[in-house]
């Protein structure tokens, strides 16, 4: 089993040194966002109308990808139960740098209506570096599109460095993750 996993710690990778190349790459990153097709929580139901005729997110260069290897954007669609959290962490770590996380719904901000539940997390950014939060219970597709706009601005300005933050504060994130996931029966490094 061990040989199927890489056992190196994640490393922060600096963006391209040349200013023009960096700006060009950031532009491409912002205009070609692959969403990981992994619906967590009730907010995930809001993602479906985004792809269909009414909202048609593809005109902004945003499309779903069913594999974490190729996706760049992880939308945590609302409450994340501890059971799902294990899969969320594995999927997030398998994505390639740069990768972005969008917290969708009040549940990712402060626990929402599951605030005192025994099996959901209360704040997403203890466990994963979040770039954009979209508040609401549940937010309409319009607010999601506004969230995408905000994320695109951040990427273009080079401020969406969540993957590097995750690598730099790896021990802190791991400690937080292990505090809630009691049965940590998965490899330490998952990419």
């Amino acid at each position: 089993m061990a040989e199927l996993f890489c056992d190196a710690r994640p490393q922060a990778v600096d963006p391209a040194a040349n200013r023009v190349v960096r700006a060009f790459y950031n532009w491409a990153q912002a205009n070609s966002l692959f969403i990981l097709a992994f619906g967590t929580g009730c907010g995930a139901i809001e993602l479906r109308p985004l792809f269909t005729a009414r909202y048609d997110i593809s005109r902004y260069g945003i499309m779903p990808r069913p594999t974490p290897r190729q996706s760049g954007l992880f939308i945590i669609g609302g409450y994340a139960s501890i059971k799902t959290m294990k899969r969320i962490i594995r999927s997030y770590e398998q994505m390639q740098n740069p990768k972005f996380v969008m917290g969708l719904g009040s549940c990712t901000v402060n626990g929402g209506m599951y605030w005192d539940s025994y099996n959901t997390i209360n704040r997403l950014d203890y466990y994963l570096p979040v770039d954009v939060y979209v508040a609401g219970c549940m937010p309409r597709p319009e607010s999601l599109i506004a969230g995408f706009g905000r994320l695109k601005t951040l990427i273009r300005e080079g401020r969406a460095e969540g993957a590097n933050r995750y690598a730099e504060n790896f021990d802190w994130y791991k400690a937080n993750q292990k505090r809630i996931i009691k049965d940590w029966n998965m490899p330490e490094y998952n990419w």
Binding site: F24, Y25, R69, Q96
Partner: protein
């Protein structure tokens, strides 16, 4: 020496040309499909942005040597296929390389990329990769049966296995095209084109519902950029081959682009209308009517 340098230079120009034709065609077709769905669709240049994006990814993990080589084999299949087909008849720059009997090698190259991809996908260790490759190989094998019959029929008609000679025989007007001269062989060829273009109902290797994405599941960053580039080269090369075989070839760049685009609309139109087949349904379909038409074409052309 200068001869070789010129040949390599021409091959690079030709590849650059066909890559852009492919990417733009995919961009336009993406918008057309979106209109059928009642959507607006991604910008026409989205395929370019996607490739720049995948190249700009900063990390990449590997699963071993074959994992590296998988996309390389795949693009070798696409490039090899394209460079053996004369894209523009009589042109020095886009004439590519050809020799007597290249049709046989071309048929082999259509399969080659798939086999290379199978090795790379197997090393990635993802079950969906292996499953997708298996499904893809099954379908390509089935769809090559009517295609082989169509080619045998054309070879029997023109007494040649050289694509250049087949194109040359079709010059001199619309009615010299194999589409009108050998309509039965053309029908068999067009049916098998459906299986080669990876559009629904024959996109079973990607199987969007049950094993989303299939063979490229584990490929990312530059590996994926190679696959994306190959997708445009390979698909366009197959269309160029069909234009050469059945639609009179092309004597100018404009004619080539127009014919390739119009021909691509056929599998796309079928794809937006029909849902997806299962593996065994697809195989049974190819071995049924299209194969019968192919055999009929061979009989018609030989006797």
């Amino acid at each position: 020496m200068t001869y070789w340098l010129a040949a390599v230079g021409r091959a690079i120009v030709s590849l650059f040309f066909i890559m852009n034709v492919g990417l733009l065609t995919f961009g336009v077709v993406g918008r057309i499909v979106a209109r059928v769905h009642g959507r607006i669709g991604p910008p026409v240049w989205q395929p370019y942005v996607n490739i720049v994006k995948t190249i700009s990814m900063r990390t990449a993990v590997s699963h071993g040597v074959m994992f590296y080589l998988g996309p390389v084999f795949r693009i070798t299949g696409g490039v090899g296929l394209y460079l053996l087909i004369p894209a523009v008849h009589g042109s020095t720059w886009l004439g590519n390389f050809h020799f007597t009997g290249d049709l046989i090698l071309v048929v082999y190259f259509i399969f080659f990329g798939m086999l290379g991809m199978a090795l790379g996908a197997a090393e990635s260790g993802h079950p969906y990769s292996a499953m997708g490759v298996m499904r893809g190989l099954t379908q390509v094998t089935a769809s090559e049966v009517p295609f082989a019959f169509a080619i045998i029929a054309l070879a029997a008609r023109h007494h040649s296995l050289s694509i250049t000679e087949i194109v040359a025989a079709q010059q001199g007007g619309l009615l010299h095209w194999n589409l009108f001269v050998a309509p039965v062989a053309t029908a068999a060829g067009l049916f098998s084109l459906l299986g080669m273009m990876m559009q629904s109902p024959f996109d079973i290797h990607l199987a969007p519902q049950e094993i989303p994405i299939g063979p490229p599941t584990e490929f990312h960053s530059s590996y994926l950029a190679l696959l994306q580039t190959n997708r445009s080269i390979f698909a366009t090369a197959k269309l160029v081959l069909f234009v050469n075989l059945f639609f009179g070839g092309a004597t100018s760049i404009v004619a080539l682009v127009v014919k390739v685009f119009v021909l691509f609309l056929f599998p796309v139109a079928v794809g937006v209308v029909f849902p997806r087949y299962r593996v065994e349904q697809s195989v049974r379909w190819f071995l049924g009517v299209p194969t019968a038409i192919g055999i009929a074409a061979v009989l018609i052309e030989t006797f």
